[in-house]
Assembly symmetry: C2
Amino acid sequence: MSVLNAAARAVIDSGRLAHLVTVNPDGSPQVSIVWVGFDGEEIVSGHMADRQKLRNVRRDSRVVLSIETGEVNSMGLGEYLVITGHGRVTEGDAAGLLQRLAHVYLGPDVTFPPGTDHPPGLILRITAEHVGGVGPWATD
Amino acid sequence: MSVLNAAARAVIDSGRLAHLVTVNPDGSPQVSIVWVGFDGEEIVSGHMADRQKLRNVRRDSRVVLSIETGEVNSMGLGEYLVITGHGRVTEGDAAGLLQRLAHVYLGPDVTFPPGTDHPPGLILRITAEHVGGVGPWATD
């Protein structure tokens, strides 16, 4: 059973930017923002080229995603979803995934990535193991 | 000389939520959202009680702040500021800092924290050492 309840899943599917944290070789955190969606039970992001964050995941699979929902709670404080888990990197069809996510993040008529003849790219696949933050999904 | 240019400083002062990343005892990343502002050249956040993120900083001072600006670049992609640096934790006047930041984050008439007779609390003070992300401040 997934640790993600319906409210958490809705945030992942909502087109809100995700702050992806990975672990650098020296143990320091690395952060970049990604688009996210689901592929089955895994949370996925698409990458046209290999980057530090993907090299990090192949070496140390521990990742965190942090997403602001744009909602505020009864105290006026911003809600956010923090997902802790492990990631794996697969090769191929990053452009297809990015196009699917671009329709959520940029608009239903947007072509992204631009052009054709894309390299296979890479997909980061995250299994959620713990949910936190502030909102109707936090278990801690 | 600070690594933060005027555009980066403006983001810190803008009332946008900051995703604060610290390093857990087992080396995994920890993320929570904080309000931020400046105290001189240090980026500061206020905390009424000791928490895992502050214990993390006292053990391993490496931190990252990641902030969405709400602006988009020419490709329609969201701008964000990533600050890598080191933190230190001082005791006292967290309520005063939170009240100052609440005026930026919640509104000029808001009283926060609620009530009076607050404990001294703690302040996290971050020195920025590297700036990244997507926007007119990234050096990488």
